[in-house]
Subunit: 341 residues, 2 copies
DNA sequence: GCGGAATCCGTAAGCGCTTACAACTCGCCT
DNA sequence: AGGCGAGTTGTAAGCGCTTACGGATTCCGC
């Protein structure tokens, strides 16, 4: 990477006949004064030479960059892809670069990446997806993030179920409770729950809301009504299989995430079990794929792109005062859930 | 971002009782010699202090960073999400950071982002998705990329239909031709083509392959058998609507991308037109959603994650010799296409 | 045990920018 | 006219790292 002759501030200054300091000020401090016409001259010189500041030099001098760090669990998952889309569209508008990293739901990797991004002097750190249930890890994260904030960084936690920095929250428990209530209202009494790993806090939240929603109507789940597969399509498939092969299969399968529900529906179809005639299915999240599914999936819809945009907006605000944005999930009652026959 | 007291190389050197130069060498040049035990001492000091090199200082000094630039059209699109997933998993393994940007299929934005990334001194630049049919723009891109390569950067073009840097290619035309032949073999004679914007080169390639495949069997498309909607689900919907509302609707709808085909199927369902009984549908790309679709979508499957991984692998190689990896698309004949009644 | 080569390590000069500080220019008031 | 302050510009000192260069040390064969 031997710099081909990239033009430096030096060159611009010379070309405009001013000192490098003045050039710097004209170029990067809009409310600096300066002799009449000076700024124009410098700007013209910069334009003419095709000058672009070296971001690393700038970062080194100011110790802050114009990148933001985006931490997701897995881009391949539509949930995060859409959310990232929202983040990126705002980044585009604000001339920010996004450093995206995937944790693959591994706490160690998450911490490592956070440290890496902090050392990159990213302007803000957006953490998305469920936090973990892991006291040591959380303490380490918290320490790292606090130090980062103290040094001027802005942290945004998005649908994490944990409170660090600005928050973009959805009330997982409440939405799930509502969905559960809706299922009961349809007449369902026997449930199977596809819940995902308990080490994920949002899984716990949703599960708890679900239980509460059922309990409100006098329905109590037994331990083996709930399975905890991987948070993936395959996980949903195997979960459906295991739940439906019990001596007394449930009439309603509730998953804590759309991707699980879609996996479940896929298995059900391959097993010749008709949804919703023989079993109802629900999800959570609002993936576009849920609408296109056949039958279309009953779920809680979250405007994921908007969540991402909001997160990025918050990322641009100073760390304090702290902002909390509550995003509404909306019940989408569709074809996959009907009253039991 | 006033640096809280981050530990600098300075500190490590002092702690290990060596000069800063030696510390630097021990830390970042694995095949430098050094007195016995010296390296260990420095490493220990670094570990003890929790030292991490300032990437900007390093980038400034060496004028090259450990980030790579990833240019996609739109993360929200599963095609790119999966591809990015592949890229990121290799990046994770290689300790590289990924700077992802979305062009939203806007040539100006693409060029601007490429320049930005080049100025960020990214180690490599991965360009994905179709290139544009725009001579001036392509010339500008080519100039920019060539200069970048000359300064040591490595460029990878992924499924772009254009030849800059290392290549990860799929033979769009050939695969599409095969798919078209397969449809003819099923007995289809009347076709509607959902093609996407012609300014995208891969759209042209696929379309050309499609035409060729039909022509091989004596079928020639008329101009109005082909529509050019946006490359999105909505585009697919409106395209299907327009094609099916002709006086003589086609019995086989071929789309140049899965997302278009899925949109088409969604409209067909809402219009009460049964796939494949009344009309067959095909796609191109290999999104997971195509398998889950009902009926499952006949398409050309591309191993998108592998494409991404391959791209990142190539990105790590020096710019020359130039590598070309041809990825095979495989015909996936599924439920959405059957012989016409 | 000695000369020269080989190896090791420290000093210092950047990389390209920002910014504190000093110098200088005006304009205006007394 | 002199002086003061506001406003403008330049000089130079970093930011934290790499690396050319040269002095010091070691090693080897003789």
């Amino acid at each position: 990477m031997a710099d081909r002759n990239l033009v430096r501030l030096q060159d611009v200054a010379a070309h405009a006949g001013v000192s490098i300091a003045t050039a710097s000020r004209m170029l990067s401090d809009p409310n600096y004064g300066g002799r009449a016409g000076l700024r124009e001259r410098v700007l013209a010189a910069a334009a003419e030479l095709g000058y672009r500041a070296n971001p690393h030099a700038r970062a080194l001098a100011t110790s802050s960059s114009s990148s933001v760090g985006l931490v997701v669990h897995d881009v391949r998952d539509s949930y995060f892809a859409l959310l990232s889309g929202g983040v990126m569209s705002v980044a585009d508008r604000e001339d920010l670069l996004v450093n995206m990293v995937c944790t693959y739901r591994d706490p160690a990797r998450e911490l490592e990446y956070v440290k890496l991004l902090v050392h990159q002097r990213v302007r803000a750190l957006i953490l998305t997806g469920s936090a973990f249930r892991d006291t040591v890890h959380n303490a380490a994260m918290r320490a790292e993030l606090r130090a980062y904030q103290e040094s001027g960084g802005s942290v945004v936690s998005v649908t994490r179920g944990r409170d660090v920095g600005h928050l973009v929250q959805i009330d997982n428990a409440a939405a799930m409770r509502e969905l559960a209530a809706a299922m009961v209202k349809l007449g369902h009494t026997s449930f199977g729950v596809i819940a995902g790993p308990l080490r994920l806090l949002t899984v716990r939240d949703r599960l708890q809301g679900l239980k509460q929603g059922l309990k409100d109507h006098g329905i109590v789940l037994r331990r083996d009504d709930i399975v905890h597969p991987d948070l993936s399509r395959e996980g949903g498939q195997s979960a459906a299989q295991s739940l439906m092969s019990r001596r007394n299969p449930p009439r309603c399968l509730m998953a804590v995430a759309d991707v699980l529900a879609l996996g479940a529906m896929s298995w059900l179809r391959s097993a010749g079990i008709v949804v919703p005639d023989e079993v109802s299915v629900t999800g959570f999240g609002g993936l576009p794929a849920a609408i296109d599914a056949v039958p279309s999936l009953t779920t809680v819809e979250i405007p994921l792109e908007r969540v991402g945009e909001t997160a990025m907006d918050l990322a641009l605000r100073p760390a304090s005062p702290r902002h909390v944005v509550e995003i509404e999930g909306t019940l989408a009652l569709r074809e996959s859930a009907t009253p039991p026959a």
